[in-house]
């Protein structure tokens, strides 16, 4: 494992040499790829993602294809995609804009006013993704980054993206679909594939915004563990009353509908969610 990590950094450095980029440091690592900070011509900061050759599969292609199709200010932009051969193995590498404003996780707790501002932009990003018939399936604070202005949120990491026009990659027998359970919607947790659509992302965005604004998961009743929270979501219990009251008192009442256990009770179309959020914002 260690050997392969070193290899990816070495490959990243070779790519930098070839493309006249300046290698700075490794900034992230996922199951199938590593991300490096590099500097491009005219000192533009860039992110270079190198995919592990063993992990180079349909999933990577889906991620790259989805990101190439997305053209929106609140979605991470791919600048180039290339394939490199190294010691007889092929590696896919993508260059993206470097998001220097950090993640939503790193921001810690945010105010209701910040939630409204960040929320409307992320909803616009989700609407764009939904318009392409895509579902991100991994919306969470770690996957929301900020541009250098620290106020423009950007949806990143399309590693679990699903194109609803294609057949699913998750087998029906799997008890749970892919995603980060703590932020996932019931239909995702239960692998109810026929119910997955943009409203699945709407739910995760609802949890994400609730978590960073109110400091906890909206389904956490007193004294229960994270695992029990996920169980409450997957069994379609109701959102906790403490959450409904607090969200409403902060002028964030739309969050409760975004978090409905059944997708039919969430906002049906992105424009309806956008309108509700705009009205809330005043």
């Amino acid at each position: 494992m260690r050997m392969e990590e070193d290899d990816l950094e070495q490959i990243a450095r070779k790519i930098c040499t070839k493309r006249q980029l300046r290698f700075l440091q490794r900034v992230g690592e996922g199951a199938f790829k590593q991300t490096f900070q590099v500097v491009g011509p005219a000192a533009v900061p860039l992110a270079l993602k190198v995919y592990k050759s063993a992990g180079s599969n349909k999933r990577d292609h889906r991620e790259i294809n989805a990101m190439l199709r997305c053209q929106h200010r609140n979605i991470a932009q791919i600048i180039s995609v290339e394939t490199y051969s190294y010691q007889g193995r092929k590696y896919t590498a993508i260059t993206e804009e470097f998001l220097s404003g950090g993640t939503l996780t790193q921001k810690g707790q945010i105010s209701a006013a910040q939630c409204l501002e960040i929320g409307i932009q992320l909803i616009e990003g989700l609407a764009h993704i939904a318009g392409l018939n895509l579902v991100h399936r991994d919306i969470k604070p770690d996957n929301i980054m900020f541009r250098s202005d620290a106020s423009t949120p950007v949806i990143t990491d399309f590693g679990l993206v699903r194109d609803l026009s294609d057949s699913s990659m998750t087998p029906t027998w799997a008890s749970r679909g892919p995603g980060t359970p703590f932020f996932a919607a019931p239909e995702q947790l239960n692998n109810e594939k026929d119910m997955i659509d943009w409203r699945t992302d709407q739910f995760s965005l609802g949890v994400t915004l609730s978590y960073v604004t109110l400091g906890d998961h909206p389904y956490r009743s007193a004294g229960i563990s994270d695992r029990e929270v996920v169980d409450r979501v997957s069994s379609r219990d109701e959102v906790c009353s403490w959450f409904i009251q607090r969200a409403s008192s902060l002028g964030l009442g739309s969050l409760s509908r975004m978090l409905a256990p059944w997708s039919v009770d969430r906002y049906r179309k992105p424009e309806l969610l956008q309108n509700a959020w705009r009205q809330q914002k005043g």
Binding site: E187, E192, D194, M195, D197, W262, S263, V264, D265, R268, K269, L272
Partner: protein, 379 residues
């Protein structure tokens, strides 16, 4: 809030009557006419009724059955016996031909095509949505609306989770209107009466309506009371739907049955009455104000013993259907009050030892409907 006339055999002349002006539109069917005849009929309706909404139901519920002139229509698939109904390509081709036919017909909207499945599982509903969304997209720029057709088995609605499950899948559609058809096993001339099934059906309607989807319940009868209480935007009825329920068997029988008898619909009993029944009920003074106001009812009563009244019986029911919908929408009548009143009147008939010609026409379903309202409100 509106009513639609579900066109049947020789029923195009009914919608032209001035007394039927409260009908917001009609659902045209390919069963009783060719494409050319339908185009002509639609043009005729258009010339006299400018705001009338014309919806086309392609009626592919059991495509292999003998259904009048359906097979002569250009969209009717030539390969129904060998086709794979789960094939996307098959539906895409059908949608393309249907969209073209709708353009020629000059309809305002079309119900997405569907077949009655053997099993009403999630995959079936997802396919309904795929077909509906595809048709919706292809007609978007042609100013023809699409209603997402959904056939729902009443029996499966008894499971509490099934309602939100179905609604969650169906609400994925691009269409904003749902053409909802309940499939059951109720025998001809009998009322729907399973409390759990009906409460589930009401919850399904309400779930769609409260989530920005307008529901048009197809093939209604006096059960319109339940659907309106659940918040349905629109209901549609044919002239004699109560006699031929929406069951699979319906499509396996000849579509033009002989031996039609005239029936009077009586609001005071929420029941269809044969001539002898009507006379007995009239004698004990139990005809409702609604019946006595009904212009076709008046005509029937004037010539009841001398003239045949089959055609007027259709009109009498259709007039009541639109009239009660209007009263329920305006809050002038309440479903529960009408049911309680009918229940009390059946008790009076019992006391007077007045029995209907059909043994099962005894008003027992009204108690089930009242219980349905309780069950629905409970959840």
């Amino acid at each position: 809030m509106s009513v639609f006339h579900q066109m049947g055999h020789h029923s195009n002349n009914l919608i032209d009557l001035p007394e039927m002006s409260s009908y917001a539109g009609a659902i045209f069917s390919p069963i009783n006419c060719t494409e050319a005849e339908a185009t002509e009929q639609i043009a005729e309706v258009r010339s006299s009724k400018k705001t009338f909404e014309i919806i086309f139901d392609p009626q592919l519920y059991v495509p292999s059955s003998e259904r009048g002139k359906l097979k002569k229509w250009t969209y009717f698939p030539k390969d129904v016996d060998t086709a794979d109904p789960t094939s996307k390509a098959w539906w895409t081709d059908l949608n393309k031909k249907l969209a073209a036919a709708c353009q020629r017909l000059k309809v305002d909207a079309v119900c997405s095509p569907l077949t009655i499945p053997k099993v009403f599982d999630d995959e079936y509903y997802l396919n309904c949505v795929r077909v509906g969304t595809e048709l919706s997209k292809s007609l978007k720029d042609r100013k023809i609306g699409v209603l997402q057709t959904v056939l729902v088995s009443l029996a499966e609605l008894t499971a509490e989770r099934r309602v939100p499950e179905i609604a969650s899948i169906v609400s994925k559609t691009d269409a904003d209107r749902v053409y909802l058809v309940f499939v059951g096993s109720t025998a001809p001339r009998r009322e729907l009466s399973d409390v759990d099934e009906l409460a589930g059906a009401m919850r399904l309607i309400n779930t769609f309506e409260r989530n920005d989807m307008r529901v048009l319940v197809g093939f209604c009868s006096s059960d319109i009371l339940l659907w309106k209480a659940a918040g349905a935007s629109s209901c549609a009825s044919g002239k004699f739907f109560n006699l031929r329920r929406f069951t699979r068997q319906r499509f396996e029988e000849p579509s033009e049955g002989g031996g039609q008898l005239p029936y009077w619909f009586e609001e005071n009993l929420l029941a269809f009455l044969r001539q002898g029944d009507l006379l007995r009920v009239q004698r004990v003074g139990l005809l409702s104000d609604a019946s006595q106001r009904n212009p076709f009812g008046k005509e029937i009563l004037l010539k009841l013993k001398t003239d045949p009244w089959l055609a007027n019986s259709w009109r009498q029911f259709l007039y009541w259907f639109a009239d009660v919908e209007g009263r329920l929408t305006r809050g002038e009548s309440a479903a529960e009050t009408l049911m309680k009143n009918a229940d009390a009147n059946w008790a009076k008939l019992d006391k007077e030892k007045i029995y209907m010609e059909e043994r099962e026409n005894n008003g027992t379903w009204i108690r089930s409907w009242l219980n349905t309202l309780r069950e629905y409100e409970k959840r």
